[in-house]
Amino acid sequence: MIAKPSRPVTAVRAPADSRAVSPDREPQPLWLCIRFPRLALDIHPPGNSPVRAVIDANNSVHSVSAAARAVGIETGMPAGAAAALSSVLQSLPRDTRRELRALEQAARRCCQLTPTVSLAPPDAVVLEVRGSLKLFGGFEGIQSTLQATLSPLGHDYHWAAAPTPGASLLLARCRREIKIEGRERLRSALGGLPLHTLDIDANLLMRLHKTGIRQLRDLWRLPRAGLARRFGPELVAYLDRIRGERPDPCALYRPPLKFRSQLELPAATVEHATILAAANKLFRKLVRFLRRHDAGTATVCVRLFHLRSSFTPIHIGTRQHARDAAHLLHLFDQALQCGTLPESVTGLEVLCADIRSFIPARQDLFRNTATQAQDWQHTLDELEARLGGEAIRHIESVDDHRPENAWMHRVPTGRSAKLRQRPLWLLSPPQRLTHRDRRLWYRGYLTLHSGPERIESGWWDGQDCRRDYYNASNPQGARLWIFQDLKQQSDTWYLHGLFG
């Protein structure tokens, strides 16, 4: 029930498995929990008013600054009530993505203490420090290192240490900054904690509360079988994990991979061949790096350093996560050809931060469809490198009665079911038709062939239309799709498409 981090899981470790049988022989793990109680507030830049509160999606107060607390604003209060308490209240929206990023930043810093770091969103990090005690000079040493490591981030934190990650998290939530050694002490140490610190849903919490259970101690006293029958086996399993009677595997946090490699050219040059040769060397290095990590990449940035100005960045993007040095070099060549260099190049650097797990192309035993598909992707990559991303578009149909809304540019996925006769060309916006001798004119007098098809839609989004569509033709033989706009009083006609 501890929320799993959203970062990709690289390894899973079960810290307390068979060791529960013999607690005395092997040292038990020691999980240190670092909780940042005001993370949601700290990620926002400081404003004019010290009275600040973060409002979450339910429109209630999520966390408050010290000044706001002094005024009487409390967590869980409706946003309106908080605004009524203080006229200078600065209310900030909650940003869970930035919170997670801040948490990951903290986790990266914690990685210098131990490799076993796990995120416990929204506001905590747990790390196993038993193996690092000796290196850092005991628990005090770890605490002082942690203090020095985390203070540049500027977040306040509470800590707690316990033999299980769940227990340390509960203690940190209640701001009990203690270290508990030995699983057998957990029961009494956790006993005094209020029930709402548990990671259980509000409904279950309410039911437990109605039964008269206020603290964890009350839960410990109830018989397991009865508890499982009345409140579900998940609750019992969760309590067992907290007390270390059942293994509690945590997803480890791994800092994201990054590749960065630089190469100095022997002399400043504008020759493409020399730059390409150097780039090839770096790309092959990148591919070796990716292969070692079983990864691929879709975006690579190449920086061309100059003597006087700083550098020219060239971004290369591929459609599939790949690790093909030749393809990257080809794309780089295309990008280099269509741009102009401001001055001669003294060095190159290849940066790659977008590293994901590699998915090899599927091979077909009998047909070469896979290579053909790959060929197509490579062609599009090349066009994009040369023409820019906006030049290449896919089209898609959208289920909408209004013709100009029935298509859009993007990578297509679905398909439409309505198959009326529609022109192959659509004019956007529609072109106003003129009259000559009271007859419709578009490069000649128009003749109506079929229609009308009434299209009346969209009053809900402010773009309502009421139109009668006709198929028409002009003396040149062009087949046109025209409509009369019924919203306008006079006889207003538009050309909207050509049946190409």
Partner: protein, 204 residues
Amino acid sequence: MADIAVDIKLSSPRLWRGLEPLPPGLPTGFAVLDAALPTRGWPAGSVIEVITPAWGIGELRLFLPLMQRLSQQGRHTAWITPPYVPYAPALIRAGISLAGVVVIQPQHPQQALWSMERLLRTTACGLAVAWPQQLTSPTIRRLQLAAHRGHSLGVLFRRQHANPRRRTMPAALSLRLDAVENGLAIEFLKARGGCRQPRVTVDW
């Protein structure tokens, strides 16, 4: 009667025709047109030039059956610098999978031709249709070579100019279209391998 006899003789395998045999074409979807073309369909691996008095007389409809067949085969269709927006519902109605359609709108006309050449060279692209602004003979020859290499078909749509005098273009097939009642008149300006009829009319 004499015509029939000659036809039979021409199709006889023992007759040496003096020309290298043309590879079979891609069915156009119109029986009249297939019968008139020397390859019995659009010439595969080549460039077709289509001259039309105006956009929208049915010049695209001529290629819809081909697009549909290519879409079924999983080959892609590229639209390069189309004058208007290719309308998605119409393509779906014609049985063309939109996943295989890509629209390319580069900044410069030269880039459009470069894109077309690059696309024609890959076998994954079955058809590239383009609306070029200016065309020269060497350009078409280049496109022709690219199409030959990728076994793909390139179609160049051009507006008919005021003066009919123009140099012959090295496209494998050159058509001039004209709108007629309920159909399209197709005049063959040039067809590699010789044309059976100078003019056909396709009914919708």
